[in-house]
Amino acid sequence: MTNDRAVAELEEFLAERADRLLRTAVLLTGSRESGQDLLQTALERLLRHWRTLSGDPEGYLRRTLYNLAADGFRRQGRLRLKLQLLRADTRPPPDVTAQVDLRDALVRMLVQLPPRQRAVLVLRYWEQLSEAETAAVLGWPEGTVKSAASRGLRRLRELAEGWQPTELHGTKRG
């Protein structure tokens, strides 16, 4: 099989999956640019193994995506991530209620978590997988997933408790 044919097949494979995969990658990295970079890295590995891959390519791709993210995605410095988050182009328009604002803030707070905790929370709350399924995707013991999720949520709660809507939208509460 030529490389061109593999590329064509990969394009076909991505036709219905690419948007969802990119959304996942954006959540894992905190910005659209970094998400694209992460997804491309995972796809590059998929393409490299396309000919020899046995089984479900999507499963392979997802596992690669999450493992790269949990690994800290080598090209992403934490500072760079935070800077990108400040100018994230995926920010929805401001909302009038504090609760809606808190939803946005929580997702932005994800980037402050260690990569492994972030990957677990995206699998649990975006992919809606159980702890056992999450453990299977990451190849970790279930106990590790459980503790990572617990620590991640606890940290988010701490951040959420200190959250003020003025931080995001410059409007005063009350």
């Binding site: 990119l22 640019e33 490299r48 080598r74 090209r75 995926t90 932005r108 190849g139």
Partner: protein, 324 residues
Amino acid sequence: MDMKTDVEELLRDGMGRFTEGVRAPAGLAASVSQRHRRRVAVRVSAACGGVAAVAAAATLVAVGLPGGGPATTHHAGTQARTVTYLVSRVKQALANEHRVFYGRTNGTDGPSITWVYGPRSRWEELTGTSCGHALPNGDCTHQDGSERYLAQGTARVGGKLTGVYVTYYNRKWSLSPEIVPANACSTTARMEMSGVPVPTSHWSSFIDATLACGTASVTGHVWIDGQETTKITGAPVTERMQPGEAKALGEKWTRGEWTLYVNPKTFLPVRIVSATSTFGGPRASYKGVLVTDVRWLKPTAANIAKATITIPPGFRQVASPASQ
């Protein structure tokens, strides 16, 4: 408000909202393919750079440039005196070059090691703490370890020393493409210096040539691990990317920089710092920095053997690095 429940629910909602409207660009697979080709090309280019530098240095020595004339013409004051002093040590330095270069590199893209002796070279990328490779089932292999991921350099193939590229994770190897020599003072050679260490033993000739043509200058004296070194900084070089690369990376320009910390007695590098950055496009700019600590070892049979790649039995030969 019940924070325990609410945070989970709000997080779930927030994730959907945050990524609302995110669409993957068209031609994603083609773009990934281009990116893969570029990565392979960069690695091949990095491996070829050493021979380019050796060839360039050899040419310059042959035509007598290391005599110091051009350097004193183009540089004044301290710079000129330092260059003359350094050039005067070339003969002594060349004697020291009969040692084996061993460099250990750490940087943005993970650790690597470089062994060089004469025409032999072996550059190996290690996985370090990063997930260097994912198996077909998606698991990260070698994570938190320090195992070989790929190698580039020379191997004995059919009794002849030949350029090869080996990927350990999928047990494949290929012959490296033909090497095109570049002048030590050329933009190509300067750009190659901004990557992984140029696999050459002839550092003193290379340094001498770059000082003579003005593409590097002495910028100070620095103590490294209790040893005084002369700091030599290469002039940064900026190039416009090829259209395919620019599109794949979302950036327009690439810039290379390098600094050598040289033992003033032996004229050999103790540390090499190189940096490559890309910028000028819609993506966030990127800068990768590599720091290589160098040791010069005795040319024992064991050390010389380490400067050659051994292709493990059972590895399959493929047409080119791009097929790996």
